[in-house]
Symmetry: C2
Subunit: 476 residues, 2 copies
């Protein structure tokens, strides 16, 4: 009988500590090692909390959690983010103050900001005309004259430093499902750009061109064309090797091809040509639209009491923070680490800033690294092999509650992307969300020095569950 | 010892006829069945010929064949097809006569042409103004007033009916490697189009717009932009789910994005907008450019004495024909069959025209169905699964001489596409080249009714080898 259960002559299975298999092996038995770890980091209190949150027996809280999560999943899957307009941040971001600068990740004060974020903030101050020099801009920050807040607090998202100031243009994405809106800056391209902390004249000139020329022209083209269905566009791009975080070639090409006729009809020739050139030269233009689409979908699932679905993961270069649907506005943070990946020639891990940017909103939505199986060519950009991509996506099915049928992955027989991260599953399994990311130089203004993969820290998820436990009276 | 060689308790291997395994199985032995067939269709004379063509011992012909094939492979791999211009066929096709109409596939007379080809020929005659009605055009054809010849005889290729008349515009593709040129019509889009045999007023109007507006504007844009590197574009598209025969979404989007700025700068606004709309609405625009690029590469490998490399596969809707490098201008033909695949609602195999079009030039080059592993999403269009795609590509490695390192397939760890079909390997193995194809209705003008997969007939390859054998004095 044992031989039927365990083929290939296996006579014993060893669970956990590898050394336990040594004695039977020494006696000639073939032992199968099973990589098992106790749940919830072997913390009894945490394990008990997870068990309570999962227990949906009559009168137990798990039933409420399950129902809340079903609602959250439905709202994520039913979201229909459409790009409706390009507007100035001050016009559309609800309650954005005058001298306010938004940044990526969870809240952070100027004194603790990393180099690229400080550089980008200085650039935004110069761009806004609040100071005439970098020194004067720095002084304003040091003297507390600038209010800093996370983009996420205003329904917005920004890649890398994520710096967003009132007169910058933003893409307006409406969730035609739930009616909520989300915003993102427009992507500047690669090289010396604000989001990596550069603030030289070429950076500021490009930002002005984007505000004065690109934004109104793209807005007019959108008005003529009608709203662009970002869900359909992302779905198509996932069939074309994009994961819509670190690879956006297909989505940017599809978007350009879609909007070009209206752009040509509405903009002066020279403007249309210059914008089409800009789009041709920027393979990441769609990234910010992808991020806003994800934000719009996830915000619709936020603030559902008892839900353990993660609705944001974001990094400010010092800390990684997550938000969970059932714990409202709270951020649960842990120190940000340096991504593993490929560095551009001349750079290495010592040059790298810790993990930075709101772009992990894509993984929170189930694309980005969660859809790595859809983007085999990305291996050449972030390291690893196409097989790693399949492995990442399969692993993420273990910590998510749904598969997004609208986002089929060809290499997995069109199985949907792993969607709705359940903090219970993360804590229970110790498997943390994987995130694709660019790597910024730790000094402001040098720019991108690599790309790679990182994990969201487990501590964020244990804190979130503990907070929910306290809220629910399960833990003191 | 036997148990080490054959794990899983296998005690015997049965080669060939399945029934031979029954007696040992009846006695309880585990028998592994090996799907083996005798080489060269078990034809002793053919088998001997293949053996002689493969024997590269001192003084044997196989050495000459091997050297010729190495040269052919090098010319295919070194080809650098670039799109340089859009011109009128009469201007650039060498020696194209006045009342000549080119068609897809090997030579065929009017009397034997299939419905879609006849319809397209009638359309071309109306378009050229050689007749005022379909009846009059048909009469011209019946009376022998029109000279018909294969596109391939003029360095050109055309999808489906492949009808090309003197005043139609063609894409001019130069092989920057060898200096030769190839041509293809511009793709009309789907629906009622000439290449499926439709010749109504909307079809002719579109053709006139393409000649009078699209072609000069695209030509001017190309002149302003500079030549477009089609090898690089195809390579990029293969990373994005195209196989550049039946799926051209990525390549068309990349091409549009590339040429749009120059188009906007050189064409009047309304023209540029209309062209960008046309490109936005035609996911197959790149097909014809892909075909011309393949033709340019393969023509460079044609006419190398003794080479058994296949340089063209083409279908006229009645017969499939191939050309082999070492046998010059000769076509080796066999009856065309109906493709296996998915039919549009309301249609089935009985409505289908047998295999049609020059587009199998893509498979001859090692893309199209040969690169199906790169295009998992195509399964939804032609039937089958992404696994079938991997299987097709792997199978084609068995009948080709090289892997094209410039055309990496992500799902196969960036292994190059299977390149340079060796007629010896086809005949030896009985494995025939797989071809992706659209399916035309057998009546003119109804259009595409499905898409699927078909195999080039083995008889074409046995004939080609026999001809080479005769040429070389190996067979009488």
């Amino acid at each position: 009988m044992a031989q039927e259960l365990f083929p290939d002559g296996i006579r014993a299975v060893n669970i956990g500590v590898a050394e336990f298999a040594l004695p039977p092996r020494a006696h000639g038995a073939t032992v199968l090692d099973l990589d098992w770890r106790p749940p919830a980091e072997a913390d009894p209190a945490l394990g008990l909390l997870v068990a309570r949150l999962e227990d949906d027996a009559e009168g137990e809280i798990g039933g409420q959690v399950a129902a809340a999560n079903r609602a959250a999943v439905a709202r994520i899957l039913e979201a229909r983010p459409v790009l409706t307009a390009i507007r100035t941040a001050a016009e559309v971001l609800p309650g954005l103050g005058a001298r306010t600068i938004l940044h990526a990740g969870p809240p952070i004060a100027w004194a603790r900001m990393c180099g690229p974020m400080r550089g980008a903030a200085v650039g935004a101050i110069l761009y806004e005309g609040w100071a005439a020099s970098a020194e004067a801009a720095t002084l304003l920050c040091e003297q507390g004259e600038i209010a800093f807040a996370p983009c996420h607090h205003y329904g917005a998202v920004g890649p890398m430093a994520g710096i967003l100031s009132p007169s910058m243009p933003v893409a307006v994405v409406e969730n035609a499902g739930a009616g909520n809106r989300a915003f993102a800056t427009l992507n500047e391209g690669l090289g010396k750009v604000l989001r990596f902390g550069a603030y030289g004249s070429e950076v500021l000139e490009r930002l002005r061109w984007m505000a004065e020329t690109l934004a109104p022209a793209l807005g007019a083209a959108l008005a003529a064309h009608g709203p662009v269905d970002l869900k359909a566009l992302t779905a198509q791009a996932l069939l074309m090797g994009d994961e819509c975080h670190n690879r956006n070639v297909a989505s940017t090409s599809l978007f350009t091809r879609l909007i070009a006729p209206a752009l040509v009809r509405t903009a002066p020739t020279a403007v249309a040509a210059r914008i089409l050139e800009f789009l041709e030269g920027n393979n990441h233009f769609y990234l910010n639209l992808s991020m806003a689409a994800c934000k719009a979908a996830l915000d619709a699932a936020h603030d559902i009491p008892h839900s353990t679905v993660v609705t944001a993961m974001a990094r400010n270069g010092v800390e990684v923070g997550i938000r969970m649907s059932g714990t409202g506005a709270a951020w649960f943070t842990a120190p940000a680490l340096v991504p593993q990946g490929l560095f551009f020639p001349g750079y290495g891990p010592d040059d790298a800033n810790p993990d930075l940017g709101d772009s992990a909103i894509t993984e929170t939505m189930g694309i980005g690294a969660f859809a790595m199986a859809a983007a085999p060519a990305i291996a050449r950009f972030i390291g690893g092999s196409p097989e790693d991509g399949l492995r990442y996506t399969r692993e993420m099915y273990g910590i998510t509650l749904a598969r997004n049928g609208d986002f089929g992955i060809p290499a997995l027989g069109f199985t949907g992307t792993p969607t709705a991260i359940d903090a219970r599953r993360v804590v229970d399994s110790g498997v943390t969300p994987v995130i694709n990311t660019g790597v910024a130089h730790r000094e402001a203004g040098i720019g991108q020095i690599g790309a790679g993969v990182i994990r969201a820290p487990l501590a964020c998820f244990t804190q979130a569950l503990s907070a929910l436990g306290r809220q629910s009276g399960l833990v003191p």
